[in-house]
């Protein structure tokens, strides 16, 4: 899967928006914009002081609802995706963070814990992709 060629300005501007959002949430409300945790805890309680989580998720999908998602190239069957989803859900709860919680918020907080988590999931994902290619050449 080659992916799109994304202009650097789009990568940087998109990342800047993500970081600004995470910074805003921490600076004003003192909340961590970690999406795996927000999703998991929204299942538990979505009212009162917990209501910010489902509200954040509502905001998260609004731009896509109005503008559309753009090109989406799934690289795997739904059964593989469901399996991947289980691994992502299980792993991120065990490690207490995903690409946003550890990769953006934790790194922004200069946490060695998050740096190690990020290095680990990026390295394992790279090995996973390489292994998959080796097992089924295109």
């Amino acid at each position: 899967m080659a992916g799109e060629v994304i202009p650097v300005w789009r990568s940087v501007a998109g990342g800047a928006l993500i970081g600004a959002a995470a910074g805003l949430l921490m600076l004003v409300s003192g909340r961590v914009a970690g999406i795996s945790g927000i999703v998991a805890r929204s299942l538990q309680a979505s009212f009162g002081k917990q209501a910010w989580r489902p509200v954040f998720l509502l905001g998260l999908v609004l731009p896509a609802l109005f503008l559309g998602v753009g090109p989406v190239d799934w690289s795997a069957s739904s059964s593989v995706l469901a399996t991947a989803g289980v691994l992502v859900g299980f792993g991120t709860r065990l490690a207490n963070g995903c690409t946003s919680g550890h990769g953006v918020c934790g790194l922004a907080n200069l946490s060695p814990r998050s740096l190690l988590a990020t290095a680990t999931f990026v390295a394992v994902a790279i090995v996973t992709v390489a292994t998959r290619h080796a097992l089924s050449p295109p």
Binding site: Q44, G59, A76, C105, L110
Partner: protein, 160 residues
């Protein structure tokens, strides 16, 4: 007020993910595929995100309070333990298989397509399973984790 902030943060976060192109699994996999046509876009996105979030975290770390008054324990976290490494490795396998992490996964639900629901359905099952497992393995005997399902048992000790 906190809800309004969360809504704005969510919208800006979602717009950023869309603009970065990281809602397309192929673009994530293009970053992870170091032996093929490697594309560094995800690294630029992450670096920009960390740079923009950094000042806010530095301010709150020093003030120990958010602007709205919430007391925040945003100390630098350096606890490294087995769940962190094991969990991140398991996440890495799922991420490498799919090219999807939780944020893009939620956004892809708006396509109403089967693959998106398959992924997020799996994500929820996995999150629940992690807490059931944590409940069994927890030194406290797990009753607390059982009473508070879906919340990681490491909640208090290690944020992020």
């Amino acid at each position: 007020m906190n809800a309004l902030v969360a809504l704005i943060a969510g919208v800006v976060f979602g717009a950023g993910l869309l603009l970065s192109g990281m809602t397309n699994p192929a673009n994530v996999l293009a970053f992870l595929e170091v032996t093929g046509h490697w594309q560094p876009a995800l690294a630029y996105t992450m670096a920009a995100a960390v740079a923009l979030a950094f000042p806010a975290y530095a301010i709150v770390r020093r003030r120990r309070r958010a602007l709205l008054g919430e007391v925040v324990d945003a100390r630098v976290q350096s606890l490294v333990d087995a769940p962190l490494l094991l969990g991140s490795s398991i996440f890495g396998i799922g991420w490498g298989l799919s090219g999807v992490c939780p944020g893009p996964g939620v956004i892809l639900l708006t396509t109403g397509s089967q693959p998106a629901f398959a992924f997020v359905g799996g994500l929820i099952v996995g999150a629940i399973a992690a807490n059931v497992a944590a409940g069994r393995g927890h030194p406290s005997g797990g009753t607390r984790a059982w009473r508070r399902p879906y919340v990681s048992y490491r909640d208090r000790r290690s944020r992020f």
